[in-house]
Symmetry: C2
Subunit: 297 residues, 2 copies
């Protein structure tokens, strides 16, 4: 077993796709081997991790695809982790996104993995951190994490990323005020995609004014991802390291460490088992949840 | 010490406000006495817990105030827990809300407590569960939990509540589609407040149509809270027990138990200490976060 883990760590370091896929599956399945492996890999903290988020339908996957074109043209190795919250609202749209992105699925420099996050988000967050670290140990030049801006997932991805790009479309009209404040908070840059649509210039102005009013120096890139327009300057900006990286890096790591510790400490606590036990315990007239959980802590 | 806890549990059961305030403070400060106390109280699971949420400015506090008038008229004892996420966006508005609500602050049947949730939301959620359980042991007829529909707090409150009321205003025009999907998911009922404003009827129709399209049987109440209009039928509906309560009660409890266990198991894990240790550890060339956290799990 120990030998398996060591040789997988080596294959990872050499960037073999089969090894990467296998390691990611270990993490996904919560295998004990994953814990061993993670302690043995060399995680390259210098690799840019780009978080790419935004509301459904903004064209995130098309934009990721356009960014992949840039990577390929520059002969860079790139990994994409596509996180699929699989909520009842967005399921269909996301499956479509995955298929659109698959154009580069067989390119030897492009590794794409889709992760379903249905249900236990707390547990998922830790697994995404672990998957991202595996990718950072596998000789990539850049890692992209794509997620849909629904619920908390975008905030969690921002906590993983060296830079977070929020993708928007001009459909929203001039109602930048309506933009979810969470997205405003996490954006290191905006990509105003489908910038050839009506209302795009007006929306861009409104967004820039809002950012200025909030004293935020956040660039707004206008892109037409399906025509590869506006992608090169965006990609160049994304690949530049952020200023005052050290403090930020430590803060991101502290957040990640907290989640990883929580994940470990909550091993064995299963909501289904709790539900079963509680359904029975509830019958007792003097049931007290604090006495009940005393057996679990 | 044991005697203090016992006598406080007795005073709680008798519904003494000073005892309630003291017990809540124990929980808020994370006192060890709180754990003892919580295991000794008798939590009345039959008490309706009403979650009241909605976007800032919808008039939640005015509506709570109007509901308090109903309680008082019926000679019911009521507790209000007002959760203040204190984010930079909403702070001012919330403080104003608190003051508007304070009309009943000195009524002998009304207990109001404001809880700041700035920062550690994970920890807060557990504390809100504990506070709610203290109130359920203190001879109230109904407990209301008010929170602003920002971020995750409304979902967490829904997990505490027997019924969740989402308060909206017609300002949103006919753009019900823009409504945060999270609010749609958690609502057991909507209160369309300020229903005398222009566009209210149109908005109500649009909301009802959306609910029908989604096959949701969620009532929409039209209220003018500051004139006490439409409040009586809303209150009556809120106080009716939900159908198939037992299954739901067990599921709510399982969710609460999970959070309480997590809170207990994460005792001693401090993000600031993690940050300090990580800032130093990062200097080492072969730093690995999984070896680092091994000391913490």
């Amino acid at each position: 077993m120990e030998k398996t883990v060591q040789s997988l760590a080596q294959s990872l370091a050499q960037g073999h796709f089969a090894a990467i896929a296998r390691a990611l599956t270990w993490v996904e399945n919560g295998s004990e081997l994953a814990d061993d492996l993670l302690r043995q890999i060399h995680i390259n903290t210098q690799i840019p991790v780009l978080g790419i988020t935004g509301p459904p339908g903004a064209g995130k996957s098309t934009l990721v695809n356009a960014l992949l074109n840039e990577c390929i043209a520059k002969n860079q190795r790139v990994a994409v982790l596509a996180i699929d919250p699989s909520s009842p609202f967005s399921k269909g749209a996301l499956l479509g996104d995955r298929i659109r992105m698959s154009r580069h699925f067989n390119h030897p420099n492009v590794f794409i993995r889709s992760v379903a996050s249905r249900g236990a988000l707390g547990g998922l967050a830790a697994k995404v951190i672990e998957m991202c670290d595996l990718l950072k140990s596998a000789r990539f030049d850049v890692v992209m994490i794509e997620t849909v801006g629904v619920g908390q997932s975008e905030v969690e991805v921002a906590a993983l990323s060296s830079k977070t790009l929020v993708v928007l479309v001009p459909e929203a009209g001039d109602e930048v005020q309506q933009l979810k404040s969470g997205l405003m908070e996490i954006a290191d840059a905006f990509a105003l995609n489908k910038a050839d649509r009506e209302g795009a210039a007006k929306f861009a102005n409104s967004l820039q004014k809002t950012l200025k009013d909030q004293h935020k120096e956040v660039p707004v890139f206008q892109t037409i991802a399906d025509k590869q327009q506006g992608i090169a300057p965006l990609y160049e900006w994304l690949m530049q390291p952020k200023a005052n990286d050290n403090k930020q890096a430590a803060e991101l790591l502290a957040e990640q460490a907290y989640r990883l510790i929580q994940h470990q400490r909550m091993q064995g606590v299963d909501k289904d088992i709790l539900l079963k036990q509680l359904s029975e315990a509830l019958e007792h007239p003097n049931f007290n949840i604090y006495r009940f959980i005393a057996n679990w802590v």
